[in-house]
Amino acid sequence: MNTAGKVVRFQLHDLVRNRWLLGYTIVLLGLTTALLWLGGGGERAIVSLLDVVLILVPLASVMFGTLYLYNAREFIELLLAQPVGRPAMFTGLYVGLTAPLVCGFGLGIGLPLLVSSATTVSIPARALIILLATGVLLTLIFTAVAFLLALRFEDRARGLGAALAVWLGFAVLYDGLVLLVVLTFGDYPLESPLLALTMLNPVDLGRVLLLLQFDIAALMGYTGAVFQRFFGDALGMATATVALLIWVVLPLTIGLRWFRRRDF
C-alpha cells in the first residue's frame, strides 16, 4: 500500500469512532426516514430531501472538515516529521476525511431511500442516483473548501468563523443576492450574468442538477429557473456536472499548493 493509502487507513480507524460523524449519520437517517414515511412519499418527499442535501450536507462537510483539520494539526506535524511526502499526506488526509463523510451521507440518506423505493414509495431511479451524486459532490466540494480555510487561517476561531460564513453565503444568502441583482438591473438582459452567478455557487449548481430532474424550477430559486430555461435538460445537466467537478478540483489544487509550501 502506498503512503497516502496508509494515512487513509488510519484516519478511517479514527473517524469510524468519531461521535460527530455518527451523529451526522443518525440525523440524516432520522430526517430521511421521517420525510419518506410521514411526508407523503414519492416526489414530494424527494423535494424535501433536496433541502436536506443542499443545506445540511455543505454545512456538515465544511464545519466538520475545518474542525477536524484544526484538531489534527499536531498529528499532521508528527506525520510530516516521518518519511511522508506532503502530496501523499494531503491526498491521504482528504480521502480519509471525505470517505467517512460520504459513507455517513450514503448510509443516512441512501439507505432509507433504497429501502423505501424497494417497498412503499415509488421514486424514479434516475432521480435517486442524481440526488445521491449531488450529495456526494457537495461533500467533496465543501470538504475541499474546509482544507482551504484551515490552511489559510492560522487561528482556529477565525477558520471556523470563515467556514460558517462560507456556508451561510453559499447556502442561504447567495440566492437573495442574485434576486437583488435581478431587481436592481431588471431592465437589462440578465441571463448570461445569472448563469455565470450560478456557476460560482456549488449549492446553486447542485440545486440545478436536482431540479432539472423534477421540473419544479419555479419552486427552487430564481437562478435554477433561468438555468433550466436556457440550457434544457441534457446540456444543462452536463454543464452543471462539469462545473461541480471544477468546484472539486479547483480548491483541491489550490489547497495542495498551499499545503506544499506551508510552514507547520
Binding site: 487507513r9 499536531e74 516529521a81 510552514d263
Partner: protein, 240 residues
C-alpha cells in the same frame, strides 16, 4: 573527518515581518547530546522544524547526515522526533498509533520496545488515546520516538509532562542511545536536565548562535558554578 549529523549554513527564516533566524551556522557533532537553549522566541523551535522539514528556510542550506534537505523525505527515516506535546488521534489506541508509524516507516532495523516495557505501557496500549492521562500520552510519545532506533533524536522539552520516575527512565534511555552512537538534539528550558545530559550546548538568542561548544567550556568561560548561571550570564551580557 566525520560529517556532522546536522549542518546549517547561513540559515535564515522570516515569519511576516519577524526575522526568527538570522543566518545560523551550525555543525552538530555526531554521537553527542547537544542541548539547544535560549529564551522564548530565540528560534529554537523554528530551527528544529527546519531540520524536520516542517518549516522551509528562506535562505541558507541544511544537511542531515551529509545530505542536503530540500523538500526531501527519506532522510527523516533516520530521525526520531518527540514534540513538546504529542497529540495523537483521540479515537485510536496506542497500539494502532504504533502500528501506523511502523507502517509508514518500515521496521527493517527491528523495533526498540524498551521504553514500552520500562514505562509499563503494555496495559495502556489497547485503550483509546482520549482516555489516557497527559503523562501516559507523553510516555507513548517517548516510546514512539525511540521505536525505530533512529540515529538522530530530536527532543523538544521531552520531560515536561513526565513524573520524576518516568523522567529518570527517559534520561537513562537518552544516554544509552548516545552511547550506542545516536546523535541527540535536545531543546529544553530545564537547565538541570541539560546539565545532566548534554555534552555540547548551542545557545540561541534572537535568531543567532551566541555560543556553541562543550558544556564544560561554557561554565568555565563564564567562571560560574553551573549551567543555569552561565546561561543567565550570557543573556545578561547580550542584553547589555
Amino acid at each position: 573527518m566525520t560529517s556532522p549529523a546536522v549542518e546549517a549554513v547561513g540559515l535564515s527564516k522570516r515569519f511576516g515581518t519577524r526575522e526568527v533566524l538570522k543566518g545560523i551556522d551550525l555543525r552538530i557533532a555526531p554521537g553527542r547530546v547537544t542541548g539547544l537553549v535560549g529564551p522564548n522566541a530565540a528560534g529554537k523551535s523554528t530551527l528544529i522544524k527546519i531540520v524536520l522539514g516542517l518549516v522551509r528556510a528562506d535562505l541558507g542550506r541544511l544537511a542531515v547526515h551529509g545530505e542536503t534537505v530540500n523538500g526531501k523525505v527519506e532522510y527523516r527515516r533516520a530521525i526520531g522526533y518527540m514534540p513538546q506535546a504529542a497529540k495523537f488521534p483521540e479515537n485510536l489506541t496506542g497500539r494502532e498509533v504504533l502500528r501506523m508509524l511502523r507502517d509508514l516507516r518500515g521496521a527493517d532495523g527491528g523495533l526498540d520496545q524498551e521504553l514500552i516495557e520500562q514505562f509499563r505501557l503494555e496495559p495502556e496500549l489497547d485503550k483509546p488515546i482520549r482516555t489516557l492521562s497527559g503523562g501516559t500520552r507523553q510516555k507513548l510519545s517517548a516510546a514512539t520516538t525511540f521505536l525505530f532506533r533512529p540515529s538522530l533524536l530530536i527532543l523538544d522539552e521531552p520531560t515536561a509532562g513526565l513524573d520524576p520516575v518516568a523522567s529518570g527512565i527517559f534520561k537513562d534511555k537518552v544516554r544509552r542511545a548516545r552511547d550506542a552512537g545516536a546523535t541527540v538534539l535536545l531543546a529544553s528550558h530545564t537547565l538541570s536536565e541539560l546539565e545532566e545530559l548534554a555534552d555540547d550546548i548551542v545557545f540561541l538568542l534572537e535568531g543567532r548562535v551566541r555560543y556553541h561548544g562543550p558544556l564544560a567550556s561554557l561554565i568555565e568561560l563564564t567562571g560560574l558554578a553551573n549551567l543555569e548561571r552561565a546561561v543567565a550570564s550570557l543573556m545578561r551580557e547580550n542584553a547589555a
